[in-house]
Amino acid sequence: MATTMTTETPANGGAAAETVPLSGLRRPVSKWIWLGVIFAALLPLIGGQTGLISNFYFLQLSLMIVYSIAVLGLNLLIGFNGQISLGHGAFFAVGAYVTAILIDRYEMHYLATLPLAMFVCFVIGYLFGRPALRLEGHYLALATFALAIAVPQFLKYRHFEPFTHGVQGINIFKPDPPFGMPLSPDQWLYLVVLACAIVMFIIARNIVQSRMGRAMMAIRDQPLAADTMGINSARTKSITFGISALYVGLAGALHAIIFEFVSPDSFRFELSIAILVGAVIGGIATLSGAVIGGFFVQFIEKYADAVTKWVTSTVHLPIHLEPWTIYGIVLIVLMYTMPMGIAGGLASLWRKIRPPG
C-alpha cells in the first residue's frame, strides 16, 4: 500500500531510493486507499447510528486525523525538502489561536476561520523561513528550538490579552451539525476533519509530484548544486516552510475547535517534539507515514500513560516510569534500525518481498 500511494524518496543517506520519475508520471492512487477513505467517511453512519462507535471514539479519530495533517506538514518540510524544524508547535498554536480568537471575539463561522488560520500561518512560516535560508541544518534546528521554547511565554504577553485572555485561555464551543443532520457534534466534526485531511493529502501529493516537488527534493539531496540547476532555492525553501506551517496551522485550528479550548500552556515545547516524533516514527519522506505519525501523536497524548504503567508493573521497576522515557528510547533505537520510520521500513520490506516485474 505504501509504495503505490505516493512517490516516496528517502531522506539523505537513507536506504536504496525509489527515484521520482522525471517525466512527471502520476501514479494512480491505489484502490485500497479509495476504499479506506469511503469506509472512513461512512463510519458515522455505520457506527454512530448503531451506537457501535461512541462519540468518544469519534473524538479520538478526529484528533488522530488532525495530528496527521500536522505531521504531513512537517513531513513536507523535513522529509521532502530536507530542512529541519523543532518548533512547528508554534504554528499549531498560531492556527489554534487565530481560529479561537475569530470565533470568540468576532463570532466568525468556524469553517471560515480555517482559510484565515492557514493564510496567517503561511505568511508567518514564509517570513520565518526567509532569514532561516542561509542557515545550515543545525542553526535552523537551533532557531526553531528557540521558537518552541519561547511560544508559551510569548502567548502570555500582556498586550495580547484582550484577544487571548492571557493564561485563562479562550473557550469556544463545538458547532452543531448544519441542516439539522442526525449526527452528534463529534461525528460532524469527524467528517469535517476527514474532509480537510483528504483535501490536504491530495494537495500534498500534487505538490510532491509537481515541478515544485522535484525542486524541493533536489534542494534536499544536493543543496549546493540545486541553484545551478535553475532552481530558485531561496524561494522554494521559504515557500515550503510556509506551506508546512500552513498545514500545521490548519491542524491547530481544527484541534481548537474539537477541543473547545486554547491556552498558552497547551502549546509547550513537548508539542513540537510530539509532532516530530510522529513524523519520524511514521516515516519522514512519505505521505502515508503522516497517517501513522498522526496515530502516534494521539497515542502519545492519550494512551502512553497507560502503557507505561503496565510496563512499570510488569517489569517491577522501583520508579514510576514516564512515557517520554520510552519515547526517547524508541526514537534513538529507530534512528539506528529504521531511520526511514515505519512507513519507510514497510516500504523496503515490501520492495524485498514483492514479486519482480
Binding site: 534546528a141 537551533l142 510569548f154 549546493l224
Partner: protein, 301 residues
C-alpha cells in the same frame, strides 16, 4: 542607581550560568559539529543527583565532585555508545537522537524524583557584607565558581598535553590521527567535560530557580543565545557571550520597568525574557551567524 547596579550584578551572576552552558555547547559543537539539545536536561538531571546526595547527608564538598564525576562518566558513555555509531548519519537522525536524550533525561528526572518543586540549598555561606544591597552571596558564588571553572578549563586546554591533544582532535581529526592521537577517545572526553561543566551550571542555578524537571529549558535557551552571540565556534567567545546575554537580559527588563514607571506603559518586563532570548537568537543567526568572535566556514560544492 542602586537598582541598576543590582540588575547588572544579577545579570553577571545569571551570565555566569549562561557562560558555563554556552561553553559546554561550544565544546561539543567544535569537536563534533553537533549541537547538544539535551544539554539543559542533562544539567538538570545532574542537579537532581547532587540534591539526592545532599539529601542522603553528604556535605557539599563531597556531593558536588561526585556529581561532576557522575556527569563526566555519563557524558563519555553517551558519546561512545549512542553517538559514535551515528558518526556518518544524516543530520536529522542525530538531531532526533539528541531530542530522544532530552526526553529521556527530562522524564527520568520526573520519574525518579517527581515533579514537585524542591528547594536547593546554596553551598555559599549566607553572610551580609558591604555590598549586600547590590549583590547576594550566592550570586557572588555563582560568578566566582563559574569564572574559576572557566579558568581551570582554559589552563587545561592551553597548557596540558591532553588538552592540546583534544584541541588538535577537534580542529583536524585526520591530522590528529596522523600524530597518533586516538580521536575517538578525545571526543568522548570532550563530551565528558562538557557534561561536567553543564552539571556545575545546574547545581549553581538550582538554588535560584528551585529544583524541578522544567527548570533548565529557558536557561538553556539563554545559553544558546550566549553561545551564538559570542560565536559558536569560539570557546572564549561563548563565555563572553554568556555574560553579555545575562546582563542584556536584565537591562532589557530594567529599561522596560523604567519605561513603565515613567509613562505607565508596559512594553517589556520579566515576563518576556524568553521572547527576548528568542529575538537575540534570531537576530544573531540572521545578521551574523558566526557571532562576535567565531569563524565563518566556507562550504565547498
Amino acid at each position: 542607581m542602586e537598582q541598576l547596579l543590582q540588575q547588572v550584578a544579577s545579570g553577571l551572576a545569571n551570565g555566569a550560568i549562561y557562560a558555563l552552558l554556552a561553553l559546554a555547547l561550544v565544546m561539543i559543537f567544535v569537536s563534533t559539529n553537533h549541537i547538544n539539545f539535551a544539554q539543559g536536561e542533562m544539567a538538570m538531571f545532574s542537579a537532581f543527583v547532587c540534591w539526592q546526595l545532599l539529601n542522603w547527608g553528604y556535605p557539599f564538598w563531597v556531593a558536588l565532585p561526585a556529581t561532576m564525576l557522575f556527569s563526566f562518566i555519563i557524558g563519555v558513555l553517551i558519546e561512545r555508545i549512542i553517538l559514535r555509531p551515528l558518526h556518518t548519519a544524516p543530520l536529522l537522525s542525530v538531531v532526533v537522537v539528541f531530542i530522544g536524550l532530552l526526553a529521556i533525561f527530562h522524564s527520568l528526572a520526573g520519574a525518579i524524583w517527581t515533579h514537585t518543586v524542591k528547594p536547593f540549598p546554596s553551598p555559599f555561606p549566607n553572610f551580609t557584607f558591604a555590598g549586600s544591597g547590590i549583590i547576594g552571596p550566592h550570586q557572588i558564588g555563582m560568578i566566582v565558581v563559574a569564572v574559576g571553572m572557566l579558568a581551570l578549563l582554559f589552563c587545561f586546554f592551553r597548557f596540558t598535553p591532553l588538552g592540546l591533544a583534544m584541541r588538535a582532535a577537534a580542529l583536524n581529526a585526520t591530522s590528529a590521527r596522523l600524530v597518533g592521537i586516538n580521536v575517538d577517545w578525545m571526543l568522548a572526553l570532550g563530551w565528558g567535560l562538557a557534561a561536567t561543566v553543564g552539571s556545575v551550571a545546574g547545581v549553581l542555578v538550582a538554588p535560584v530557580v528551585y529544583l524541578e524537571p522544567n527548570m533548565m529549558a529557558g536557561i538553556l535557551l539563554y545559553g544558546f543565545a550566549g553561545a551564538l552571540v559570542g560565536g559558536i565556534s569560539s570557546p572564549g567567545g561563548a563565555v563572553a557571550g554568556g555574560f553579555i546575554v545575562g546582563v542584556l537580559e536584565n537591562m532589557v527588563a530594567y529599561l522596560g520597568n523604567m519605561l513603565e514607571r515613567a509613562t505607565g506603559f508596559y512594553l517589556i518586563g520579566n515576563g518576556e525574557k524568553l521572547t527576548v532570548a528568542l529575538i537575540i537568537v534570531i537576530t544573531v543567526l540572521t545578521l551574523k551567524p558566526s557571532g562576535l568572535f567565531g569563524r565563518v566556514t566556507v562550504k565547498r560544492v
